[in-house]
């Protein structure tokens, strides 16, 4: 069976038109993701995590290498790959329910069908009573939940999430992690999930991809032994194996961050 997603020798360079400089964001990234797998991605800030997701989404063209989804090279964005953006990117002139139903509207799903899907996701992300509010009336965390619901409501086969829980309070974050875990099992979609939280990465992922400091490379891929069905808060914290893996991932990232700090210090 072919991989759901194959990333092969991916390189990405940004070109800044004003300073005429190129920035190497990703240098030679390769990894594979199986269908139905939940892969989390961690790495120091600026190492190219958002860049990687936007390349897989087809929003940018890689400088070198290729991305295959179901064995077919990605040539542009498509409804098979949904994305939750780090900046939320929900439209300020659409209400909560108009935003959540946007993808379905674009796919020309009938109004009745749409409304029932919207109602389901509104409930799932706990935004009942806010259906007709505009984004500026919502808190940062609520906006983020709208963004998550909007992407999931469109029912993509691959979900790319860029720190979707970053702006939430601790309690909501834990709830939504469990919720996302449940959805991932239910919807049978493949998920690539970028996060800054090691706890989150280990709790959610079947595997954790650790990227090196800028420019990004795959430093290490850690497989989480337990199956996703078994994980619950807070009992997971009592699991010795879970805590050990967390510690390992944490150390691995910290090493990168420290080395990054040293290099910047030397440059300055």
């Amino acid at each position: 069976m072919p991989y759901k997603i194959s990333v092969r020798g991916l390189v990405h360079q940004y070109y800044n038109r004003h300073t005429k400089e190129t920035v190497l964001a990703l240098k030679d990234i390769s990894f594979d993701v199986n269908a139905g797998e939940f892969v989390t991605i961690v790495g120091p800030s600026g190492c190219g995590k958002s860049t990687l997701l936007s390349l897989i989404a087809g929003l940018r063209k890689p400088s070198a290498g290729e991305i295959l989804v179901d064995g077919v090279a990605v040539s542009g964005p498509g409804v098979d790959r949904g994305m939750v953006f780090q900046e939320f990117a929900i439209l300020p002139w659409r209400t909560v329910q108009q935003n959540i139903g946007h993808g379905l509207e674009i796919q020309k799903v009938s109004k009745e069908k749409r409304d029932s899907v919207i109602a389901r996701y509104v409930e799932m992300v706990g935004l009942q009573g806010f259906e007709n509010k505009y984004p500026y009336e919502l808190s940062g965390g609520m906006k983020q939940r709208v963004a998550v619901a909007r992407t999931l409501a469109a029912n993509p086969k691959v979900v790319l999430m860029d720190e979707p829980l970053a702006a939430l309070d601790a309690q909501t974050r834990v709830t939504l992690r469990e919720e996302i875990l449940r959805i991932s099992l239910e919807a049978a979609c493949t998920i690539l999930f970028v996060t800054h939280s090691v706890d989150e990465a280990v709790f959610l992922g079947d595997r954790v991809v650790i990227l090196s400091r800028h420019p990004g490379e795959v430093k290490e891929i850690v497989t989480i032994p337990s199956s996703r069905e078994e994980r619950r808060y807070p009992s997971i914290h009592e699991n010795q194996r879970f805590e050990e893996i967390k510690h390992h991932v944490f150390q691995s990232i910290r090493q990168e961050v420290e080395m990054a700090d040293e290099t910047t210090m030397r440059v300055e």
């Binding site: 936007s54 498509g78 409804v79 994305m83 990117a89 300020p92 505009y134 500026y136 909007r150």
Partner: protein, 255 residues
Amino acid sequence: MITDKSSSRIYAIISFSLLVIIWWSITNFGVISTAYLPTPLQVGTEFVSSVEKGTLLANLGISLARLLGTYIFASILGIAAGVAMGLSPNVSRFFRPILSFFNAISGITWIPFAILWFGLGNATIAFVIFNSVFFIVAQNTMTGVQTVPEVFEQAMLTMGAGHLRIIWEAMLPGALPSIVTGQRLALGFGWRGLIAAEMVAGSVGIGFMIFNGSYDYRPDVVLMGILVVGVVATLLDQFIFAPLERRTIERWGLV
């Protein structure tokens, strides 16, 4: 909010009342001869009689019709041009210098040129209004489209939206505050261009009425006309565009 609004209204009433009182004292006690500056009463009387005679409303109606027709036409073209420039960096790099240049030339500067081309009459007036409106609308629309965050477009792309849909559902609403600001500025510029052009090239219209008043040695007609021009412009701005602008910006929290 409410107290803010009503207190600024009170200030407006006080400052205008003061102005009228000063005007009244100067003219009534002969500081300036009424041959040069008519009294408030004379201007008021002229206002009533010109309404009765039909001259004011007919002239005003003609002026507004001229303004509105050209304004709408120029706005549609301006918005279309602005969107095209906003969407394509190449198109905007090519046209932006031209746009800034034409924006620097105020609409009334075109009057002599327009007369050379079109003679005296409606075509010249329309040309001047068009020039006062088109460039400012295009400029503001372009800026508005360019400031729409790229992630909105990207998000719609990942949901499978086509380009027309992205323009309609992301670019235009995102640019709307800037477009409304442009429309508001353009209406003000268009109105000024219209009055000036009517003075030189018109045979009817409120601008012509004012200009003709000075030929007839009727300072009351001239001043009444000027006040009507000011009041109409203020009403258009304060009662149509200011609330519209506030509304689009407030409603979506785009500050």
